[in-house]
């Protein structure tokens, strides 16, 4: 299947370029924006009050927006909108014991970081600032890179509340 090999080589080369050579602020203008503060958000709703859609007129370091760099593989409610912070679960909730991983580029230093996404658990779902970002996300047969699952599984209460983003270190192999 020579066509397949050729096809693959060409395609994967272009992926590699896209994903590792992007300029420092290249991720800012995102295709999808899914932020919303209140109402339930559809998986790909871009109509919310806070959505800037394809525009660039928002603060790239606003951690209550899906475009914030650490959220590059986050699927869930931002804890920053729920009473927590980038790295803390809201009061009354508990952190998940397991997590998934993303690799995100920090526009401030142009470096790639390994980000561990933990869910916060045990409190009714927050329902605010839903995001759906999938850089490097893979199907569940690569569970550690999968975000369409509740990472509160295994907690005493598995009820999903929101999601935080913990930097584990730089992704040196991608630098």
């Amino acid at each position: 299947m020579e066509w397949l090999d050729n096809f693959f080589e060409k395609k994967t080369r272009s992926i590699a370029q896209n994903s590792s050579r992007r300029g420092a602020l290249a991720r800012i203008a995102k295709y999808f924006v899914g932020t919303a503060f209140v109402l339930p958000v559809l998986p790909f709703d871009r109509s919310s009050a806070n959505a800037a859609a394809d525009s660039e007129d928002f603060d790239p370091l606003d951690d209550q927006r899906c475009e914030y760099w650490r959220y590059c593989a986050l699927d869930g409610h931002l804890c920053t909108c729920c009473g927590g912070s980038i790295t803390t679960c809201p009061p009354g909730s508990s952190a998940s014991t397991v997590s998934w991983i993303g690799t995100c580029e920090n526009p401030e230093d142009g470096k790639h970081y390994i980000v561990s996404y933990y869910d916060c658990c045990g409190v009714s779902s927050c329902g605010r600032c839903y995001c759906n970002e999938n850089i490097g996300e893979k199907p569940a047969y690569r569970m550690g890179l999968h975000n369409d699952i509740n990472w509160c599984m295994g907690n005493e209460s598995e009820v999903y509340h929101c999601t935080v983003s913990i930097v584990l270190g730089t992704a040196s192999d991608k630098a």
């Binding site: 370091l61 729920c82 803390t88 009061p91 009354g92 470096k111 970081y113 409190v123 930097v167």
Partner: protein, 382 residues
């Protein structure tokens, strides 16, 4: 916000000029956010979430910057009230073992307002009123020893829970009556409003067993002009307003409740255009300035008594005059902060936003939140 942006701007400058000099972000760990210390402008917004009625909640916000601080789940038609000392959020609610079916259990829950964790969970008779979270459907005694919970089957009764000793104490039948109006001067007494226009006053002992009940004279006319059950309170004096706009000042401190005064909310001129009270939590009172605030709408008619506030009117309780009218931001719920110069917080039932007003020297709109809540109708401040 501007501080934050400034920090970011500095960060960006560094990046642009000295990006190679920036150290990597150090590895981080996850932790639980410590709730910011409570202050008089902390807001608790009870949200029934009717579209997902088994999953109600209280939204907790900082009322100055409107930052969302956390939530407390309230189950199925949870009835919610802060304890008298604001140290606890009380919630009387029901659960089904399998979501919408299975075995039902009911509890009075007490959540710490310091960290939003559950401090106590006291089984109660399985008939708490599955009602909108009106003020008065659950009430602490003034010393927080007891908590009173409205029941309905639909026959009305009130559960007396000994919060201090964490046990259900007794149940008082209150046929044809509704809402809990605790006395401030007698820690073991509360009254309730009855459909025949009387008030029923219940006095209990230190074990929470009823020792006396007595019925007042007819204080209002539920046929011609019902009183809203949500009232505003200064000590033993409760201020009620009727559908048509008659203020009733009723003292619930004694063995029987007494109507002290009643007068129309506004002059004939004020009321031109059919102004009437409306909404859910539609009234608030400031004990310092002795001003009463009521949400009003024009074109009032049969069935308009839940219309959101088109204006908020301030009534001077001494002169009985309307001293200010201000745009009401569709208020369906309002409360005053517990301060000498209180702020008024109201909830816009159309746009789901919280509005903050100054009240002294007079009402003035200060700020407004982003939308919050789905089906909220009760607002409390710490």
């Amino acid at each position: 916000m501007s501080n934050k942006k400034l920090v970011h701007a500095i960060g960006l400058c560094f990046f642009l000029n000295f990006s190679n000099a920036i150290a990597d972000i150090a590895p981080e760990t996850i932790s639980i956010e410590k709730l910011e210390p409570a202050h008089p402008h902390r807001i608790y917004l009870t949200d029934l979430a009717l579209g997902h009625v088994i999953d109600g909640r209280i939204h907790i916000l900082n009322g100055d910057n409107f930052r969302y601080l956390g939530l407390i789940g309230t189950g199925l038609f949870g009835l919610t009230a802060l304890s008298s000392d604001s140290s606890e959020m009380l919630n009387a609610t029901a659960y089904y073992s399998k979501g919408t079916r299975g075995e039902k259990t009911e509890f009075l829950e007490a959540y710490s307002t310091e960290d939003l964790t559950l401090k106590a969970e006291i089984p109660i008779p399985p008939r708490h009123a599955q009602a909108l979270p009106y003020v008065g459907t659950i009430m602490p005694s003034a010393d927080d020893h007891f908590v009173y919970i409205q029941n309905a089957t639909p026959a009305s009764s009130i559960s007396i829970v000994d919060r201090k000793n964490e046990r259900f104490a007794s149940e008082v039948t209150t046929p044809g009556c509704w809402i809990i109006l605790p006395s401030a001067s007698n820690m073991a007494r509360f009254s309730t409003m009855c459909g025949d226009g009387t008030f029923l006053t219940i006095t209990h002992d230190q074990k929470g067993e009823m020792v006396k009940q007595s019925r007042s004279e007819k204080l209002f006319n539920a046929d011609d002009d019902p009183l809203f059950v949500q009232a505003a309170r200064i000590g033993d004096l409760f201020y009620f307003v009727s559908y048509l706009g008659i203020i009733h000042e009723i003292n619930v401190g004694g063995e029987t409740s007494v109507l002290k005064k009643s007068w129309p909310l506004g002059s004939v001129k004020d009321l031109e255009g059919g102004w009437r009270p409306g909404g859910y939590q539609l009234i608030a009172v400031d004990k310092t300035s002795r001003r009463l605030y009521v949400a009003m709408h024009s074109g009032g008619k049969e069935g308009s008594h839940k219309y959101p506030g088109e204006e908020i009117w301030a009534v001077d309780l001494k002169t009985k005059k309307v001293i200010q009218r201000i745009a009401g931001a569709n208020s369906i719920a309002m409360t005053l902060t517990k301060e000498r110069k209180p702020y008024l917080y109201l909830y816009d039932g159309v746009e789901a936003k919280i509005h903050k007003y100054e009240t002294i020297p007079q009402m003035k709109a200060i700020s407004v939140s982003e939308p919050v809540g789905e089906f909220a109708g009760l607002i409390q401040t710490h």
